[in-house]
Protein backbone atom coordinates (compact mmCIF):
# COMPACT_ATOMS: atom_id res chain seq x y z
CA UNK A 1 0.00 0.00 0.00
CA UNK A 2 1.61 3.30 -1.00
CA UNK A 3 1.60 6.36 1.15
CA UNK A 4 -0.87 8.53 -0.71
CA UNK A 5 -3.41 5.77 -0.87
CA UNK A 6 -3.10 5.10 2.83
CA UNK A 7 -3.49 8.79 3.56
CA UNK A 8 -6.58 9.06 1.44
CA UNK A 9 -8.00 6.01 3.12
CA UNK A 10 -7.54 7.33 6.64
CA UNK A 11 -8.94 10.67 5.56
CA UNK A 12 -12.04 8.96 4.33
CA UNK A 13 -12.26 7.03 7.56
CA UNK A 14 -11.80 10.23 9.55
CA UNK A 15 -14.54 11.90 7.62
CA UNK A 16 -16.80 8.97 8.19
CA UNK A 17 -16.01 9.04 11.88
CA UNK A 18 -16.48 12.81 12.00
CA UNK A 19 -19.88 12.59 10.40
CA UNK A 20 -20.73 9.84 12.85
CA UNK A 21 -19.71 12.02 15.80
CA UNK A 22 -21.61 14.95 14.36
CA UNK A 23 -24.75 12.87 14.09
CA UNK A 24 -24.24 11.50 17.58
CA UNK A 25 -23.77 14.98 19.02
CA UNK A 26 -26.92 16.18 17.30
CA UNK A 27 -28.76 13.30 18.91
CA UNK A 28 -27.20 14.02 22.27
CA UNK A 29 -28.11 17.69 22.16
CA UNK A 30 -31.65 16.89 21.12
CA UNK A 31 -31.90 14.73 24.24
CA UNK A 32 -30.65 17.61 26.37
CA UNK A 33 -33.02 20.13 24.82
CA UNK A 34 -36.10 19.70 27.07
CA UNK A 35 -34.02 20.03 30.23
CA UNK A 36 -32.21 23.04 28.77
CA UNK A 37 -35.45 24.83 27.91
CA UNK A 38 -36.93 24.24 31.36
CA UNK A 39 -33.74 25.24 33.18
CA UNK A 40 -33.38 28.44 31.17
CA UNK A 41 -37.02 29.23 31.77
CA UNK A 42 -37.26 28.50 35.49
CA UNK A 43 -33.69 29.03 36.72
CA UNK A 44 -31.89 31.47 34.43
CA UNK A 45 -34.72 33.87 33.60
CA UNK A 46 -35.58 34.36 37.31
CA UNK A 47 -31.87 34.92 37.89
CA UNK A 48 -31.99 37.69 35.34
CA UNK A 49 -35.19 38.85 37.01
CA UNK A 50 -33.28 40.06 40.07
CA UNK A 51 -32.54 43.24 38.06
CA UNK A 52 -35.92 44.45 39.30
CA UNK A 53 -34.20 44.92 42.68
CA UNK A 54 -32.59 47.99 41.11
CA UNK A 55 -35.81 49.24 39.49
CA UNK A 56 -39.23 50.41 40.47
CA UNK A 57 -40.99 47.46 38.95
CA UNK A 58 -44.69 47.76 38.29
CA UNK A 59 -46.91 44.72 38.13
CA UNK A 60 -47.50 43.76 34.53
CA UNK A 61 -44.20 45.15 33.21
CA UNK A 62 -42.01 42.77 31.29
CA UNK A 63 -39.10 41.30 33.21
CA UNK A 64 -36.96 42.08 30.19
CA UNK A 65 -37.90 45.66 29.47
CA UNK A 66 -34.70 47.64 29.14
CA UNK A 67 -36.17 50.63 27.32
CA UNK A 68 -37.44 53.96 28.63
CA UNK A 69 -40.31 52.32 30.49
CA UNK A 70 -37.89 51.07 33.15
CA UNK A 71 -37.25 53.25 36.16
CA UNK A 72 -33.79 52.48 37.45
CA UNK A 73 -33.43 53.46 41.07
CA UNK A 74 -30.00 52.11 41.95
CA UNK A 75 -29.69 50.93 45.54
CA UNK A 76 -32.81 52.67 46.81
CA UNK A 77 -34.54 49.47 47.93
CA UNK A 78 -31.43 48.12 49.63
CA UNK A 79 -30.96 51.36 51.55
CA UNK A 80 -34.61 51.43 52.51
CA UNK A 81 -34.43 47.90 53.86
CA UNK A 82 -31.23 48.42 55.83
CA UNK A 83 -32.53 51.60 57.45
CA UNK A 84 -35.98 50.14 58.21
CA UNK A 85 -36.98 48.81 61.61
CA UNK A 86 -37.44 45.39 60.01
CA UNK A 87 -33.77 44.94 59.26
CA UNK A 88 -32.62 44.37 62.86
CA UNK A 89 -35.70 42.40 63.80
CA UNK A 90 -35.50 40.03 60.85
CA UNK A 91 -31.77 39.46 61.21
CA UNK A 92 -32.13 38.95 64.96
CA UNK A 93 -35.00 36.48 64.61
CA UNK A 94 -33.32 34.62 61.79
CA UNK A 95 -30.05 34.32 63.70
CA UNK A 96 -31.83 33.20 66.87
CA UNK A 97 -33.73 30.43 65.09
CA UNK A 98 -30.65 29.40 63.11
CA UNK A 99 -28.57 29.27 66.28
CA UNK A 100 -31.17 26.99 67.88
CA UNK A 101 -31.15 24.87 64.76
CA UNK A 102 -27.37 24.67 64.89
CA UNK A 103 -27.35 23.71 68.56
CA UNK A 104 -30.16 21.13 68.37
CA UNK A 105 -30.93 20.41 64.71
CA UNK A 106 -27.34 19.94 63.67
CA UNK A 107 -26.09 17.95 66.64
CA UNK A 108 -29.07 15.64 67.24
CA UNK A 109 -28.50 13.52 64.10
CA UNK A 110 -24.83 13.08 65.01
CA UNK A 111 -25.56 12.08 68.62
CA UNK A 112 -28.39 9.84 67.44
CA UNK A 113 -26.17 8.04 64.95
CA UNK A 114 -23.40 7.59 67.52
CA UNK A 115 -25.91 6.28 70.04
CA UNK A 116 -27.52 3.75 67.72
CA UNK A 117 -24.10 2.63 66.62
CA UNK A 118 -23.59 1.33 70.17
CA UNK A 119 -26.61 -0.97 69.95
CA UNK A 120 -25.70 -4.53 69.09
CA UNK A 121 -29.17 -5.98 68.65
CA UNK A 122 -29.62 -5.40 64.94
CA UNK A 123 -33.41 -5.70 64.88
CA UNK A 124 -33.89 -3.21 67.70
CA UNK A 125 -31.47 -0.81 66.03
CA UNK A 126 -33.25 -1.18 62.71
CA UNK A 127 -36.61 -0.52 64.36
CA UNK A 128 -35.49 2.68 66.11
CA UNK A 129 -33.82 3.85 62.91
CA UNK A 130 -36.89 3.21 60.78
CA UNK A 131 -39.09 4.95 63.35
CA UNK A 132 -36.86 8.00 63.19
CA UNK A 133 -37.47 8.35 59.44
CA UNK A 134 -41.25 8.56 59.87
CA UNK A 135 -41.47 12.34 60.48
CA UNK A 136 -39.64 12.98 57.21
CA UNK A 137 -42.56 11.40 55.36
CA UNK A 138 -45.14 13.43 57.28
CA UNK A 139 -45.86 16.72 55.54
CA UNK A 140 -44.86 20.01 57.12
CA UNK A 141 -48.51 21.05 57.16
CA UNK A 142 -49.49 17.96 59.15
CA UNK A 143 -46.51 18.28 61.51
CA UNK A 144 -47.32 21.93 62.17
CA UNK A 145 -51.03 21.13 62.44
CA UNK A 146 -50.42 18.42 65.03
CA UNK A 147 -48.22 20.74 67.06
CA UNK A 148 -50.82 23.53 66.92
CA UNK A 149 -53.57 21.20 68.06
CA UNK A 150 -51.49 19.68 70.87
CA UNK A 151 -50.61 23.06 72.37
CA UNK A 152 -53.90 24.91 71.93
CA UNK A 153 -55.81 26.02 75.01
CA UNK A 154 -57.89 22.81 75.15
CA UNK A 155 -55.05 20.70 73.81
CA UNK A 156 -53.41 17.75 75.45
CA UNK A 157 -50.35 19.71 76.53
CA UNK A 158 -52.42 22.16 78.55
CA UNK A 159 -54.49 19.29 80.00
CA UNK A 160 -51.36 17.55 81.24
CA UNK A 161 -49.94 20.78 82.68
CA UNK A 162 -53.34 21.38 84.28
CA UNK A 163 -52.82 18.25 86.37
CA UNK A 164 -49.89 20.06 88.01
CA UNK A 165 -51.98 23.17 88.50
CA UNK A 166 -50.43 25.20 85.70
CA UNK A 167 -53.09 27.38 84.06
CA UNK A 168 -53.84 26.82 80.37
CA UNK A 169 -52.27 29.17 77.88
CA UNK A 170 -52.47 29.76 74.12
CA UNK A 171 -48.76 29.09 73.70
CA UNK A 172 -48.62 29.79 69.97
CA UNK A 173 -49.73 33.39 70.54
CA UNK A 174 -46.78 34.31 72.79
CA UNK A 175 -43.57 35.46 71.12
CA UNK A 176 -41.39 34.06 73.91
CA UNK A 177 -42.49 30.47 73.22
CA UNK A 178 -42.26 30.64 69.44
CA UNK A 179 -38.54 29.73 69.07
CA UNK A 180 -39.06 26.64 71.23
CA UNK A 181 -42.13 25.48 69.30
CA UNK A 182 -40.46 26.08 65.96
CA UNK A 183 -37.28 24.26 66.97
CA UNK A 184 -39.15 21.23 68.32
CA UNK A 185 -41.12 20.71 65.10
CA UNK A 186 -38.06 21.39 62.97
CA UNK A 187 -35.83 18.92 64.81
CA UNK A 188 -38.58 16.31 65.11
CA UNK A 189 -39.14 16.39 61.38
CA UNK A 190 -35.54 16.23 60.27
CA UNK A 191 -33.24 14.52 62.76
CA UNK A 192 -33.84 10.92 61.68
CA UNK A 193 -33.42 11.61 58.03
CA UNK A 194 -30.35 13.79 58.57
CA UNK A 195 -28.74 10.98 60.53
CA UNK A 196 -28.70 8.66 57.48
CA UNK A 197 -25.57 10.33 56.22
CA UNK A 198 -23.76 9.70 59.50
CA UNK A 199 -25.00 6.10 59.73
CA UNK A 200 -23.70 5.27 56.30
CA UNK A 201 -20.37 6.95 57.01
CA UNK A 202 -19.96 5.13 60.32
CA UNK A 203 -20.73 1.80 58.68
CA UNK A 204 -17.95 2.41 56.17
CA UNK A 205 -15.30 2.66 58.93
CA UNK A 206 -12.90 -0.27 58.78
CA UNK A 207 -13.91 -2.81 61.51
CA UNK A 208 -10.25 -3.78 61.92
CA UNK A 209 -9.73 -0.45 63.71
CA UNK A 210 -12.24 -1.43 66.38
CA UNK A 211 -10.80 -4.93 66.71
CA UNK A 212 -7.30 -3.71 67.34
CA UNK A 213 -8.57 -1.04 69.72
CA UNK A 214 -10.37 -3.71 71.74
CA UNK A 215 -7.20 -5.79 71.91
CA UNK A 216 -5.40 -2.71 73.23
CA UNK A 217 -8.08 -2.50 75.92
CA UNK A 218 -9.87 0.61 74.67
CA UNK A 219 -13.20 1.27 76.38
CA UNK A 220 -16.37 2.05 74.54
CA UNK A 221 -15.91 5.77 75.04
CA UNK A 222 -12.36 5.62 73.83
CA UNK A 223 -13.43 3.74 70.73
CA UNK A 224 -16.15 6.30 69.98
CA UNK A 225 -13.85 9.21 70.69
CA UNK A 226 -10.78 7.96 68.82
CA UNK A 227 -12.24 5.90 65.96
CA UNK A 228 -15.87 6.70 65.23
CA UNK A 229 -15.73 10.46 65.64
CA UNK A 230 -12.55 10.94 63.56
CA UNK A 231 -14.19 8.67 60.98
CA UNK A 232 -17.11 11.05 60.50
CA UNK A 233 -15.14 14.27 61.04
CA UNK A 234 -15.08 15.00 57.35
CA UNK A 235 -18.84 14.69 56.90
CA UNK A 236 -19.48 16.79 60.01
CA UNK A 237 -17.23 19.54 58.65
CA UNK A 238 -18.92 19.59 55.26
CA UNK A 239 -22.38 19.59 56.81
CA UNK A 240 -21.38 22.39 59.16
CA UNK A 241 -20.15 24.54 56.29
CA UNK A 242 -23.38 23.93 54.39
CA UNK A 243 -25.49 24.69 57.43
CA UNK A 244 -23.71 27.94 58.25
CA UNK A 245 -24.08 29.00 54.63
CA UNK A 246 -27.82 28.54 55.13
CA UNK A 247 -27.89 30.46 58.38
CA UNK A 248 -30.09 33.17 56.86
CA UNK A 249 -32.29 30.57 55.15
CA UNK A 250 -34.53 29.43 57.97
CA UNK A 251 -37.27 26.94 57.23
CA UNK A 252 -39.77 29.33 55.63
CA UNK A 253 -42.10 26.43 54.88
CA UNK A 254 -42.54 25.75 58.57
CA UNK A 255 -42.38 29.35 59.77
CA UNK A 256 -45.26 30.36 57.50
CA UNK A 257 -47.39 27.68 59.12
CA UNK A 258 -46.50 28.41 62.73
CA UNK A 259 -46.17 32.17 62.94
CA UNK A 260 -48.89 34.64 63.91
CA UNK A 261 -49.02 38.40 63.74
CA UNK A 262 -48.89 38.37 67.55
CA UNK A 263 -45.49 36.65 67.48
CA UNK A 264 -43.83 38.63 64.69
CA UNK A 265 -41.34 40.05 67.19
CA UNK A 266 -39.64 36.64 67.41
CA UNK A 267 -41.10 34.69 64.51
CA UNK A 268 -40.86 36.96 61.49
CA UNK A 269 -37.86 35.90 59.38
CA UNK A 270 -36.56 36.92 55.98
CA UNK A 271 -38.47 34.24 54.11
CA UNK A 272 -41.79 35.08 55.74
CA UNK A 273 -41.20 38.82 55.30
CA UNK A 274 -40.55 38.38 51.59
CA UNK A 275 -43.64 36.18 51.28
CA UNK A 276 -45.85 38.68 53.09
CA UNK A 277 -44.58 41.89 51.55
CA UNK A 278 -43.81 40.49 48.11
CA UNK A 279 -46.29 37.80 47.14
CA UNK A 280 -49.16 39.12 49.26
CA UNK A 281 -48.26 42.81 49.39
CA UNK A 282 -47.03 43.25 45.83
CA UNK A 283 -43.77 45.07 46.72
CA UNK A 284 -41.87 43.12 44.09
CA UNK A 285 -38.77 45.27 43.65
CA UNK A 286 -38.28 45.88 47.34
CA UNK A 287 -38.58 42.21 48.38
CA UNK A 288 -36.35 41.08 45.51
CA UNK A 289 -33.73 43.49 46.87
CA UNK A 290 -34.18 42.01 50.35
CA UNK A 291 -33.75 38.48 48.99
CA UNK A 292 -30.72 39.42 46.92
CA UNK A 293 -29.05 41.14 49.86
CA UNK A 294 -29.59 38.07 52.05
CA UNK A 295 -28.29 35.56 49.53
CA UNK A 296 -25.22 37.73 49.14
CA UNK A 297 -24.53 37.56 52.88
CA UNK A 298 -25.25 33.81 52.82
CA UNK A 299 -22.73 33.31 50.05
CA UNK A 300 -20.06 35.26 51.93
CA UNK A 301 -20.76 33.23 55.08
CA UNK A 302 -20.38 29.93 53.23
CA UNK A 303 -17.13 31.17 51.76
CA UNK A 304 -15.70 32.21 55.13
CA UNK A 305 -16.76 29.05 57.01
CA UNK A 306 -15.35 26.92 54.25
CA UNK A 307 -12.01 28.70 54.64
CA UNK A 308 -12.09 28.21 58.41
CA UNK A 309 -13.07 24.55 58.09
CA UNK A 310 -10.24 23.99 55.64
CA UNK A 311 -7.81 25.51 58.14
CA UNK A 312 -9.08 23.65 61.20
CA UNK A 313 -9.97 20.21 59.90
CA UNK A 314 -8.41 20.13 56.48
CA UNK A 315 -11.84 19.43 55.05
CA UNK A 316 -14.21 21.67 53.21
CA UNK A 317 -16.32 21.84 50.12
CA UNK A 318 -13.75 23.46 47.86
Amino acid sequence: MDRTKKHAFSNKKDRKRNSYYLRENLELYSLFLPAAVLIILFCYIPMWGVVIAFQDYLAGNSLFALDGSVQWVGLKHFKRFISSIYFNRLIGNTLRLSALDLIFGFTTPIVFALLLNEINKQRYKKFVQTASYLPYFISTVVAAGMMLSFIEVNGVFNIILGVFGIPAKEYIAYPEYYPVIYTIVNVWKSFGFNSILYFSTISSIDPVLYESAKIDGATRWQQMWHITLPGIKFIIAVQLVLQIGRVLDTNTDLALLLYRSSTYSTSDVIGTYIYREGIQGGKYSYTTAVGLFMSLIGFILTFITNKISNKLTGYGMW
Binding site: E24, N25, E27, L28, Y29, L31, F32, P34, A36, L38, I39, L41, F42, I45, P46, M47, W48, G49, V50, I52, L63, F112, L116, V128, T130, A131, S132, Y133, L134, F137, I138, S139, T140, V141, V142, A144, G145, M146, L148, N154, G155, I159, W188, I196, L197, S200, T219, R220, I235, D253, L257, I274, Y275, G278, I279, T288, G291, L292, S295, F299
Partner: protein, 303 residues
Protein backbone atom coordinates in the same frame (compact mmCIF):
# COMPACT_ATOMS: atom_id res chain seq x y z
CA UNK B 1 -6.58 -11.49 89.82
CA UNK B 2 -6.38 -7.75 89.55
CA UNK B 3 -6.80 -7.86 85.80
CA UNK B 4 -9.84 -10.09 86.15
CA UNK B 5 -11.43 -7.63 88.55
CA UNK B 6 -10.82 -4.75 86.19
CA UNK B 7 -12.30 -6.59 83.29
CA UNK B 8 -15.37 -7.39 85.31
CA UNK B 9 -15.84 -3.75 86.26
CA UNK B 10 -15.52 -2.70 82.62
CA UNK B 11 -18.15 -5.26 81.69
CA UNK B 12 -20.43 -4.03 84.44
CA UNK B 13 -19.97 -0.41 83.34
CA UNK B 14 -20.69 -1.57 79.85
CA UNK B 15 -23.92 -3.24 80.99
CA UNK B 16 -25.17 -0.08 82.66
CA UNK B 17 -24.22 1.96 79.61
CA UNK B 18 -26.05 -0.56 77.45
CA UNK B 19 -29.23 -0.18 79.44
CA UNK B 20 -29.05 3.61 79.31
CA UNK B 21 -28.43 3.54 75.56
CA UNK B 22 -31.35 1.17 74.98
CA UNK B 23 -33.66 3.37 77.02
CA UNK B 24 -32.65 6.55 75.19
CA UNK B 25 -33.17 4.76 71.88
CA UNK B 26 -36.62 3.63 73.00
CA UNK B 27 -37.52 7.18 74.00
CA UNK B 28 -36.42 8.51 70.64
CA UNK B 29 -38.61 5.94 68.86
CA UNK B 30 -41.50 6.95 71.11
CA UNK B 31 -41.00 10.63 70.27
CA UNK B 32 -41.11 9.97 66.55
CA UNK B 33 -43.97 7.45 66.53
CA UNK B 34 -46.26 8.49 69.36
CA UNK B 35 -47.66 11.80 68.02
CA UNK B 36 -49.02 10.03 64.95
CA UNK B 37 -50.27 7.12 67.04
CA UNK B 38 -52.01 9.52 69.41
CA UNK B 39 -53.72 11.22 66.47
CA UNK B 40 -54.79 7.80 65.16
CA UNK B 41 -56.38 6.62 68.41
CA UNK B 42 -58.14 9.94 68.92
CA UNK B 43 -59.58 9.74 65.43
CA UNK B 44 -60.93 6.26 66.21
CA UNK B 45 -62.37 7.05 69.64
CA UNK B 46 -65.98 7.91 70.27
CA UNK B 47 -66.68 11.67 70.41
CA UNK B 48 -67.32 11.89 74.16
CA UNK B 49 -63.88 10.44 74.86
CA UNK B 50 -62.10 12.24 72.06
CA UNK B 51 -63.29 15.63 73.24
CA UNK B 52 -61.50 15.19 76.58
CA UNK B 53 -58.28 14.37 74.69
CA UNK B 54 -57.57 11.82 77.40
CA UNK B 55 -57.02 8.81 75.21
CA UNK B 56 -53.44 7.73 75.52
CA UNK B 57 -53.10 4.03 75.08
CA UNK B 58 -55.89 2.52 72.93
CA UNK B 59 -58.96 4.05 71.25
CA UNK B 60 -61.85 4.44 73.69
CA UNK B 61 -65.14 3.34 72.22
CA UNK B 62 -64.20 2.37 68.69
CA UNK B 63 -66.03 4.76 66.36
CA UNK B 64 -65.70 5.12 62.59
CA UNK B 65 -68.37 7.73 61.90
CA UNK B 66 -65.71 10.46 61.59
CA UNK B 67 -64.09 8.61 58.72
CA UNK B 68 -67.44 7.96 57.09
CA UNK B 69 -68.39 11.63 57.22
CA UNK B 70 -64.99 12.82 56.08
CA UNK B 71 -64.98 10.55 53.05
CA UNK B 72 -68.18 12.23 51.89
CA UNK B 73 -66.39 15.58 51.79
CA UNK B 74 -66.20 16.64 48.15
CA UNK B 75 -63.32 19.10 48.51
CA UNK B 76 -61.19 16.41 50.14
CA UNK B 77 -61.58 14.19 47.11
CA UNK B 78 -60.92 17.04 44.68
CA UNK B 79 -57.67 17.95 46.39
CA UNK B 80 -56.71 14.32 46.90
CA UNK B 81 -57.05 13.56 43.21
CA UNK B 82 -55.26 16.80 42.34
CA UNK B 83 -52.29 15.69 44.42
CA UNK B 84 -52.25 12.29 42.75
CA UNK B 85 -52.48 13.99 39.37
CA UNK B 86 -49.56 16.32 40.17
CA UNK B 87 -47.48 13.48 41.59
CA UNK B 88 -47.99 11.35 38.48
CA UNK B 89 -47.44 14.15 35.95
CA UNK B 90 -44.45 15.72 37.64
CA UNK B 91 -42.76 12.41 38.35
CA UNK B 92 -43.14 11.05 34.82
CA UNK B 93 -42.07 14.31 33.17
CA UNK B 94 -39.15 14.70 35.54
CA UNK B 95 -37.99 11.14 34.87
CA UNK B 96 -38.16 11.58 31.10
CA UNK B 97 -36.47 14.99 31.03
CA UNK B 98 -33.76 14.07 33.57
CA UNK B 99 -32.91 10.68 32.06
CA UNK B 100 -32.49 12.19 28.61
CA UNK B 101 -30.30 15.00 29.90
CA UNK B 102 -28.27 12.60 32.04
CA UNK B 103 -27.60 10.40 29.01
CA UNK B 104 -26.26 13.39 27.09
CA UNK B 105 -23.83 14.23 29.88
CA UNK B 106 -22.68 10.62 30.25
CA UNK B 107 -21.58 10.27 26.62
CA UNK B 108 -17.83 10.31 26.01
CA UNK B 109 -18.15 11.86 22.58
CA UNK B 110 -20.10 14.88 23.74
CA UNK B 111 -18.66 18.18 22.52
CA UNK B 112 -19.01 21.18 24.82
CA UNK B 113 -19.42 19.11 27.97
CA UNK B 114 -17.74 21.81 30.06
CA UNK B 115 -20.30 24.39 29.01
CA UNK B 116 -23.19 22.06 29.84
CA UNK B 117 -21.69 21.24 33.24
CA UNK B 118 -21.45 24.92 34.11
CA UNK B 119 -24.96 25.41 32.76
CA UNK B 120 -26.15 22.92 35.39
CA UNK B 121 -23.87 24.03 38.22
CA UNK B 122 -24.64 27.76 38.24
CA UNK B 123 -28.33 27.43 39.25
CA UNK B 124 -27.29 25.18 42.15
CA UNK B 125 -25.43 28.10 43.72
CA UNK B 126 -27.42 31.11 42.57
CA UNK B 127 -31.13 31.60 42.32
CA UNK B 128 -33.28 34.57 41.55
CA UNK B 129 -35.48 33.92 44.55
CA UNK B 130 -39.19 33.47 44.79
CA UNK B 131 -40.38 36.88 43.57
CA UNK B 132 -38.85 36.80 40.05
CA UNK B 133 -40.14 33.23 39.65
CA UNK B 134 -43.60 34.39 40.68
CA UNK B 135 -43.50 37.27 38.19
CA UNK B 136 -42.30 34.91 35.46
CA UNK B 137 -45.20 32.54 36.11
CA UNK B 138 -47.56 35.53 35.89
CA UNK B 139 -46.03 36.61 32.60
CA UNK B 140 -46.11 33.15 31.07
CA UNK B 141 -49.86 33.16 31.68
CA UNK B 142 -49.75 29.90 33.61
CA UNK B 143 -50.60 31.47 36.99
CA UNK B 144 -53.50 29.63 38.65
CA UNK B 145 -53.25 26.71 36.23
CA UNK B 146 -51.78 23.24 36.89
CA UNK B 147 -48.89 24.14 34.57
CA UNK B 148 -47.51 26.52 37.20
CA UNK B 149 -46.74 23.46 39.33
CA UNK B 150 -46.05 20.85 36.66
CA UNK B 151 -43.62 22.75 34.42
CA UNK B 152 -41.17 23.96 37.11
CA UNK B 153 -41.56 20.54 38.76
CA UNK B 154 -40.55 18.74 35.58
CA UNK B 155 -36.88 19.58 35.91
CA UNK B 156 -34.46 19.12 38.75
CA UNK B 157 -30.75 19.61 38.27
CA UNK B 158 -30.00 17.53 41.33
CA UNK B 159 -31.79 14.49 39.87
CA UNK B 160 -30.04 14.93 36.52
CA UNK B 161 -26.70 14.78 38.32
CA UNK B 162 -27.73 11.73 40.38
CA UNK B 163 -28.85 9.81 37.30
CA UNK B 164 -25.76 10.87 35.37
CA UNK B 165 -23.47 9.58 38.09
CA UNK B 166 -25.31 6.26 37.97
CA UNK B 167 -24.96 6.12 34.18
CA UNK B 168 -21.23 6.58 34.75
CA UNK B 169 -21.14 3.16 36.43
CA UNK B 170 -22.57 1.35 33.39
CA UNK B 171 -19.67 -0.26 31.48
CA UNK B 172 -18.74 1.71 28.40
CA UNK B 173 -18.35 -1.54 26.44
CA UNK B 174 -22.15 -2.02 26.49
CA UNK B 175 -22.65 1.30 24.74
CA UNK B 176 -19.87 0.63 22.24
CA UNK B 177 -21.24 -2.79 21.38
CA UNK B 178 -24.67 -1.31 20.70
CA UNK B 179 -23.15 1.47 18.60
CA UNK B 180 -21.19 -1.05 16.54
CA UNK B 181 -24.48 -2.78 15.84
CA UNK B 182 -25.64 0.51 14.35
CA UNK B 183 -27.80 1.72 17.21
CA UNK B 184 -28.26 5.50 17.51
CA UNK B 185 -28.21 7.37 20.81
CA UNK B 186 -31.94 7.08 21.34
CA UNK B 187 -31.79 3.32 20.91
CA UNK B 188 -28.79 2.97 23.22
CA UNK B 189 -30.56 4.98 25.89
CA UNK B 190 -33.80 3.04 25.51
CA UNK B 191 -32.43 -0.48 25.08
CA UNK B 192 -29.19 -0.46 27.05
CA UNK B 193 -29.21 2.28 29.68
CA UNK B 194 -32.83 2.35 30.80
CA UNK B 195 -33.16 -1.37 31.62
CA UNK B 196 -30.01 -1.27 33.76
CA UNK B 197 -30.89 1.92 35.67
CA UNK B 198 -34.12 0.92 37.36
CA UNK B 199 -32.61 1.26 40.87
CA UNK B 200 -31.64 4.91 40.44
CA UNK B 201 -34.88 5.76 38.65
CA UNK B 202 -36.81 4.26 41.56
CA UNK B 203 -34.82 6.32 44.06
CA UNK B 204 -35.36 9.56 42.14
CA UNK B 205 -39.05 8.85 41.49
CA UNK B 206 -39.74 8.15 45.17
CA UNK B 207 -38.01 11.35 46.28
CA UNK B 208 -40.15 13.22 43.81
CA UNK B 209 -43.42 11.55 44.80
CA UNK B 210 -42.88 12.23 48.50
CA UNK B 211 -41.88 15.80 47.68
CA UNK B 212 -45.00 16.44 45.63
CA UNK B 213 -47.26 14.70 48.12
CA UNK B 214 -46.04 16.79 51.03
CA UNK B 215 -45.32 20.09 49.27
CA UNK B 216 -47.59 23.10 49.72
CA UNK B 217 -45.48 26.24 49.35
CA UNK B 218 -45.42 26.56 45.57
CA UNK B 219 -49.09 25.69 45.33
CA UNK B 220 -49.95 28.38 47.86
CA UNK B 221 -48.24 30.95 45.65
CA UNK B 222 -49.24 29.79 42.18
CA UNK B 223 -52.72 28.29 42.59
CA UNK B 224 -55.58 30.25 44.13
CA UNK B 225 -58.43 28.28 42.59
CA UNK B 226 -59.54 25.50 44.95
CA UNK B 227 -60.42 23.43 41.89
CA UNK B 228 -56.70 22.91 41.27
CA UNK B 229 -55.32 23.05 44.77
CA UNK B 230 -53.46 20.01 46.08
CA UNK B 231 -54.26 18.17 49.29
CA UNK B 232 -51.75 20.02 51.47
CA UNK B 233 -53.42 23.37 50.77
CA UNK B 234 -56.74 21.97 51.92
CA UNK B 235 -55.04 20.55 55.01
CA UNK B 236 -53.48 23.91 55.69
CA UNK B 237 -56.88 25.57 55.66
CA UNK B 238 -58.29 22.98 58.05
CA UNK B 239 -55.34 22.50 60.41
CA UNK B 240 -53.43 25.76 60.38
CA UNK B 241 -55.51 28.65 59.13
CA UNK B 242 -58.61 27.00 60.58
CA UNK B 243 -60.92 28.87 58.22
CA UNK B 244 -62.76 25.62 57.54
CA UNK B 245 -64.63 24.01 60.41
CA UNK B 246 -65.18 20.45 59.29
CA UNK B 247 -67.85 19.75 61.90
CA UNK B 248 -69.88 22.62 60.41
CA UNK B 249 -69.33 21.27 56.91
CA UNK B 250 -69.95 17.60 57.49
CA UNK B 251 -72.66 17.44 60.13
CA UNK B 252 -76.26 18.28 59.45
CA UNK B 253 -77.85 21.33 61.02
CA UNK B 254 -80.02 19.15 63.24
CA UNK B 255 -77.02 17.27 64.53
CA UNK B 256 -75.23 20.50 65.29
CA UNK B 257 -78.24 21.87 67.12
CA UNK B 258 -79.36 18.75 68.91
CA UNK B 259 -76.23 17.36 70.39
CA UNK B 260 -73.56 19.76 71.61
CA UNK B 261 -71.67 17.26 73.69
CA UNK B 262 -71.65 13.89 71.98
CA UNK B 263 -71.25 14.95 68.38
CA UNK B 264 -68.05 14.78 66.38
CA UNK B 265 -65.92 17.83 67.11
CA UNK B 266 -63.87 19.77 64.62
CA UNK B 267 -60.78 18.56 66.46
CA UNK B 268 -61.67 14.95 65.89
CA UNK B 269 -62.24 15.69 62.21
CA UNK B 270 -58.79 17.27 62.14
CA UNK B 271 -57.24 14.08 63.48
CA UNK B 272 -59.22 12.04 61.00
CA UNK B 273 -58.11 14.15 58.06
CA UNK B 274 -54.47 13.92 59.20
CA UNK B 275 -54.70 10.13 59.09
CA UNK B 276 -56.59 10.04 55.78
CA UNK B 277 -54.14 12.38 54.08
CA UNK B 278 -51.00 10.75 55.47
CA UNK B 279 -52.13 7.17 55.10
CA UNK B 280 -50.43 6.44 51.76
CA UNK B 281 -47.11 7.71 53.15
CA UNK B 282 -47.55 5.91 56.48
CA UNK B 283 -48.13 2.62 54.69
CA UNK B 284 -45.47 3.10 52.04
CA UNK B 285 -42.61 4.61 53.99
CA UNK B 286 -41.17 1.43 55.51
CA UNK B 287 -40.76 0.20 51.93
CA UNK B 288 -39.62 3.56 50.61
CA UNK B 289 -36.98 4.19 53.22
CA UNK B 290 -34.31 1.88 51.84
CA UNK B 291 -34.44 3.80 48.56
CA UNK B 292 -34.08 7.06 50.44
CA UNK B 293 -31.06 5.77 52.29
CA UNK B 294 -29.56 4.80 48.95
CA UNK B 295 -30.29 8.27 47.60
CA UNK B 296 -28.57 9.98 50.51
CA UNK B 297 -25.49 7.81 50.00
CA UNK B 298 -25.39 8.51 46.26
CA UNK B 299 -25.82 12.19 46.94
CA UNK B 300 -23.03 12.32 49.49
CA UNK B 301 -20.61 10.86 46.96
CA UNK B 302 -21.16 13.91 44.80
CA UNK B 303 -20.69 16.46 47.55
Amino acid sequence: MNILKRERSINLGSKVADIIIYIIAAISALITLYPIYYVLILSLSSPEHAITMQVFWLPKGFYLEGYKRLLSDRQLWVSYSNTIFYAVCETILMLVVSTMAAYTLSSKHLKGRKVLNYFLLIPMYFSGGIIPLFLLVLQLGIYNTPWALILPGAVSIWYIILIKSYFGTIPESLREAAELDGANSYQVLWNVFLPTSKPILAVVALYKIVGVWNGWFRASIFIIDSKWQPLQIYLRRVLVEQDIDLSQELLTAEELMADQVNRLSNNQFKYTIIIVSSLPMLIAYPYFQKFFVKGVMLGSLKE
